[in-house]
Subunit: 387 residues, 2 copies
């Protein structure tokens, strides 16, 4: 039976203190749930999203056949994270542009009646802030303890942070294609993308909504850079190589000899991805989410000692990385594995030999799927969620 | 004795037919020479430049102490390419913004008296076109045969192309940190940089000179992307890591929590490099040179068979690559080595274990310097240039 998803929203009127020292006066979180919470409330699984995803993790919306959730291949009835056994929660993070309170929403500190939205005044939010907000949502859902928290990439950072901020509320953490912090190169790519957005004349210091503009040029560049880093060199060569979009018959070598037109297929692909993204993504959200990535660094408060930082974590872990992921390389996952083992934690680790780069965490590699399925089978046993 | 460089210019009034089918009506090339051409005219070495370099390869300009040429550590009296033994020629390529005819020069096809510069109408030039233009310069200098042609990165592509276009005029080719063509990922980075420039409102379709503007935003982004790809992940982590530019004392973790301000040292470094570049580099030149990189592909006319393509080359070769260069990875140099060996050519190959990424070809790694020095010693023997 197909999974039909229904988006929900929860309002919070108690202010949320943020890591930066600022606070959010009141806010809403968009979320979805799939499956049924069991009587013991022991089968809840929280899914954390990465850069451009949302609370719509699995299933489709009624009457919209092509509205699959972003991790629908992983989560659903009979899937590796089986919604026949688990009560799965997808939540949209603060600062996003997909429903939860973010830069496009009214700023309660603006003059009354001004209707002014946050824009660039939305406070900087961190992975830790998101986790705190997610914990409050679980409170309203009556969930004290998660069978598992799971995420890929930036979502994996949230899963890891859960085990440090709320160790007593997490039984298992599944951290896929992630890292204990960003490298200088990761930050560098984020910064170039941000500069492209911020220096777009249509950005207006982040208050473009009032000007009726959208910094689409910047968003396009940001997305093109992102796409390069999501793919491996190998898969790009296999998929696009040096293929021309359309060979010019009058030219001996097929080249059209232009500096501005599309010549190669890879250019066409990147432009398409950039154009598509600029139509739906919010520029301030892009800045906020990349900054959350930059700032995440649990070892920082421990002089860079990740083993000390992870002492607080008490749950069991599954980490997964992909050999050709150069954005969050396997060695970054191994740092986490090593630090957990230093603390005698129960850790499973799978390094999947996949050609697809960072994108692999969203794809259907059967070995990856099997590893996650088998891990969730064992979770089901341990939390009494076996069917 | 310090090497004093004197820029020269050579005008050519015979049109140059370009690979695209277009032609340049007349043009000038800026160049410099160092050392003395011997009586047998057998000791000439041509140096080809990469993206943002010029004919000013070695030495300093009189009275300008800080005006070292871009490869001054490699070339000069007593240096690996020893100007006491070799007559070394640096030449600025067509389409550049450092003296040779380029987009900033008057377009002879514009209405008389309009004074209109080429701008975006400068014809697309290829590595092969550059080599043809360089060959004409050698003709005017009375040099029939080069003791060696040498270049790094895009300059290495020119060196390789020399051995194919003028096999009888080259005795040795030194190809450093280069590749037989760009990968899809290489093209992708070039394309993002070009899109940043072309979509900058100050670009005006490439005719910004007439508008009194410079697409600096785009140039900055282009340069920031470039810098990321010139460095290795390792050297970036070592040099910048996650260091903050200035920790905020009032903040528990030192973060200033801003999406638009500089937070990390790597951001500061990239912004500085971008700003500097936008002050002196021409946007149309950037498009032209990255396209020359994209198009270079000697195997293309041979159905992708590099061994067949390199059959024409008859000279001896030295190839050098650097282990952490991910822009032009060692495996790309090995493709060239393999193709030359398939043709029983005389090839030396050094893979230098250096941490500096693509930038290493401009740096002072002693093993790299020794390899080049020793190779040029043997060239000196073979061409009668030994002192």
């Amino acid at each position: 039976m197909p999974l039909i998803a229904t988006p929900q929203s929860q309002h919070f009127s108690l202010p949320l203190a943020l890591q930066s020292g600022a606070s959010l006066r009141d806010y809403s979180l968009s979320f979805e749930t799939y499956g049924t919470l069991n009587a013991g409330r022991s089968n809840a699984v929280l899914i954390c999203h990465a850069l451009n995803a949302s609370h719509h993790v699995a299933g489709t919306y009624a009457g919209q056949d092509n509205s699959e959730g972003w991790w629908d291949n992983m989560i659903g009835p009979g899937k590796p994270v089986d919604t026949d056994r688990f009560f799965v929660i997808g939540v949209n993070n603060l600062g996003s542009c997909f429903g939860s309170t973010g830069p496009m929403h009214a700023n309660p500190d603006a003059p009354a009646g001004s209707g002014r939205v946050y824009g660039a005044d939305f406070p900087v939010v961190t992975v830790e802030d998101w986790v705190n907000a997610q914990a409050r949502l679980l409170d309203t859902l009556g969930i004290r303890t998660l069978a598992a928290v799971m995420g890929g990439s930036l979502g994996g950072m949230q899963a890891l942070s859960w085990t440090l901020q709320y160790p007593e509320r997490v039984r298992h953490a599944v951290v896929v294609a992630s890292a204990p912090n960003l490298t200088a190169e990761n930050i560098a790519f984020n910064e170039v993308a941000r500069r492209a957005i911020v220096t777009d004349p249509d950005f207006h210091g982040g208050h473009f909504y009032e000007h009726g503009t959208v910094p689409k040029r910047g968003l396009r560049i940001a997305r093109m850079i992102g796409h390069i880093t999501y793919l491996s060199d190998d898969v790009m060569n296999e998929k696009f190589g040096r293929q021309l979009r359309e060979a010019v018959l009058s030219s001996a070598d097929g080249y059209r000899y232009s500096t501005q037109d599309v010549e190669f297929q890879i250019e066409s692909y990147l432009r398409y991805q950039g154009d598509k993204f600029a139509e739906y993504f919010d520029a301030n959200t892009y800045l906020l989410i990349t900054r959350a990535l930059d700032y995440f660094d649990p070892a920082r408060a421990f002089g860079g000692d990740l083993s000390k930082a992870l002492q607080r974590a008490t749950c069991k872990f599954l980490l997964v990385s992909f050999t050709t992921d150069w954005r969050f390389a396997p060695k970054r996952s191994r740092e986490v594995v090593k630090a957990l083992l230093d603390n005698q934690r129960d850790v499973s680790y799978a390094e999947i030999d996949a050609p697809h780069g960072h994108d692999a965490f969203l794809l259907d590699d059967p070995r990856y799927m099997d590893v996650v399925r088998s891990y969730f089978d064992s979770i089901a046993q341990s939390v009494g969620a076996a069917t």
